[in-house]
């Protein structure tokens, strides 16, 4: 009983979100004239309240609901990041500034958004194979619906169908792996699995664990859009409404990395002060290095020839997943910290880039890069903002994107000479990426437009949110020492 009471107390952020989700559904079904405003206010209020509660609970650490989920600093960080991401998307992308969402039901959108947020948070705290699978599927199923939000649009539905089929195969494969893991270890709890594997393995069993790790990785790879599970990514990002694309490119990806870290760090490794020990000498890091190298290379090379902005950013987000995975492969506290810094930076730079793309679409009705020439003269502010977001994605100092890259590369190099080639591949990839990001800038600033058009007039709210995201890409550097110190606390266990 005591266990349940403590669990409920530590579970409050999720409970708040669930309550608000139900309220939003109720409010939306009243069909009153004020229901859209009420749904929006409720959603923003609920997310803020949950965020406050997460921050208040940041110090606690322990298992809840008989070990199904866990509350610890790492989970607190990811909860705050995931709830914050939903909040940012809802505030910056509205039904007014997204041309694709005009005239569609708003209550359902907020309800779905809250549902994805809850499941993202659960994914970041899962401590049991059953919980892990349930949370991952809940994120997937709600995102399928969000991608198909434009009911009458063929692209949106086709994107969703491709997403579902890829998702079903990947998560099905993962589930098969999880069932074998349960059979091998006799337990579904991650700490218990680690204890079993640490007690020693026969050679045959070690081989089985390798196979299981590969099967399970299908699910994580799908969520984080890692090669070879990335095929859905460009199509889904292009077909989905842009606010949904922006959301999918940051939140579920971050949750995917949270669960990947939890599985590989907590299930298949033992924490130490420096580099962590592999459990049962299962060297999964080597496999992940290969995946990470392939992910960044495929993402960057495929992005070179894209002309649709959403598609281009989709490939760029695949490449970034490769860099972020470096933090997982480093298998140390510094690696975990680097991953957190990269995810935070990625949140503000990628959302910023998508916001600019949405605003250009609102005013021009196009996602095509070939329609971007002349934007510099028509809206210097929007061009400046896009330049900062792209330079940040490129990893140019002194922007937050640079700090993200700096820390993941440092965490890798720290592991010793056998990892140097890996860091070098990452650096070469960053150079390839610079080409296509710079190409967008060149198109916006230098290329001459076919015809003179009047200047773009941004709405006040849009300009504000662009400026805020712009500030978030530059200002954190001023307080870097403090940010680094507090993130180190969250990365430790």
């Amino acid at each position: 009983m005591q266990d349940v009471l403590t669990s409920v107390k530590w579970f409050e952020p999720e409970l708040i979100l669930t309550g608000v989700l139900l309220l939003v559904v109720l409010v939306d079904s009243t069909l009153a004239a004020w229901r859209n405003v009420a749904a929006r206010v409720l959603t923003v209020g609920g997310l803020l309240l949950a965020l406050v509660r997460v921050v208040e609970l940041r110090g606690v650490s322990g298992e809840i609901f008989s070990g199904m989920a866990v509350v610890d600093p790492l989970a607190s960080f990811f909860k705050a990041l995931l709830i914050g991401a939903s909040l940012l998307v809802i505030l910056a992308f509205t039904f007014r500034n997204s041309r694709e969402l005009h005239g569609l039901g708003q209550g359902e959108f907020y309800a779905l958004m809250l549902a994805v947020t809850i499941s993202n948070v659960l994914m970041a705290t899962a401590n049991d194979l059953a919980m892990l699978y349930l949370a991952l599927e809940m994120v997937s199923i709600t995102s399928y619906v969000m991608v198909a939000y434009m009911k009458g649009d063929r692209m949106s539905n086709e994107a969703s169908l491709k997403y579902i089929l890829f998702g079903a195969v990947s998560t099905g494969t993962m589930l098969y792996g999880l069932s074998l893991l349960y059979g091998l270890t006799g337990n579904t709890s991650l700490p218990a699995i680690r204890d079993f594997l640490a007690a020693g393995l026969t050679d045959a069993n070690r081989l089985a664990v390798y196979a299981i790790a590969l099967l399970v990785f299908a699910g994580f790879g799908f969520k984080t859009a890692a090669v070879p599970f990335h095929f859905w990514c460009p199509d889904v990002y292009q077909g989905a409404p842009t606010p949904v694309t922006a959301f999918l490119s940051v939140a579920p990806k971050a949750a995917g990395f949270a669960i990947m870290m939890r599985f590989f760090y907590q299930g298949l490794a033992t924490p130490r002060a420096g580099p962590w020990d592999l459990v049962g000498t299962i060297d999964w890091a080597r496999v992940l290095i290969l995946v990470s190298v392939l992910t960044m290379t495929v993402g960057n090379v495929a992005a070179l020839t894209q002309t649709n902005m959403k598609r281009l950013l989709a490939y760029s987000s695949i490449a970034h997943a490769g860099y972020i995975m470096m933090g997982v492969v480093a298998l140390s506290q510094n690696g975990a910290r680097a991953l957190m810094i990269y995810l935070l930076a990625y949140l503000v730079m990628n959302l910023g880039a998508f916001l600019v793309v949405t605003l250009v679409h609102l005013h021009e009705g196009t996602f095509d890069l070939r329609d971007y020439p002349g934007l510099y003269r028509r809206s210097p502010f929007l061009t400046l903002a896009m330049a900062v977001f792209l330079l940040s994605l490129m990893g140019i100092p002194p922007l937050v994107g640079f700090m993200g890259k700096l820390y993941v590369f440092a965490a890798i190099v720290e592991r010793g000479p056998s990892y140097f080639w890996y860091a070098a591949v990452g650096a070469v990839n960053a150079a390839i990426a610079a080409y296509y990001y710079a190409r967008i800038l060149k198109t916006m600033i230098i290329d001459t437009p076919p015809a003179e058009k009047p200047p773009l007039r941004l709405a006040f709210a849009d300009a504000t949110w662009v400026s805020l995201l712009l500030a978030a890409n530059v200002l954190p550097l001023l307080w870097w020492a403090r940010i680094e110190a507090s993130l180190s606390l969250y990365a430790g266990r």
Binding site: L129, A130, Y133, L134, E137, M138, S140, I141, Y144, V145, A148, K151, G152, R154, M155, N157, E158, A159, S160, L161, K162, I164, L165, A168, V169, G172, T173, L175, Y176, L178, S179, L180, Y182, G183, G186, N187, T188, S189, P234, D235, Q238, G239, Q306, N308, R311
Partner: protein
Amino acid sequence: MIALQHYLAVSAVLFSLGMLGILTRRNAVNVLMGVELVLNSANLNLVAFSRFGPGNLQGQLFAVFVIVIAAAEVAVALAIVLTLYRLRRTPNLDEADILRG
């Protein structure tokens, strides 16, 4: 006497058949059937391991949740297939090709 190996063999066959169905079928509904086979092969594994293994019920509990998830997933998938059918008048997957590049 039916032992654990028999269950595992059946589940492996189910998994392979499911994957084969997913990869070779053109009709979206048939592909979803393949997905069901994959999920149920994992269910069979979980229940069999729970019965013959350590004697705890975690596996059976897991299987119950998987059944629920499978139902939810297919409900959403069929809804999307239906919407797409209304828009294109075909359930074939290789005709869903407007997104490419």
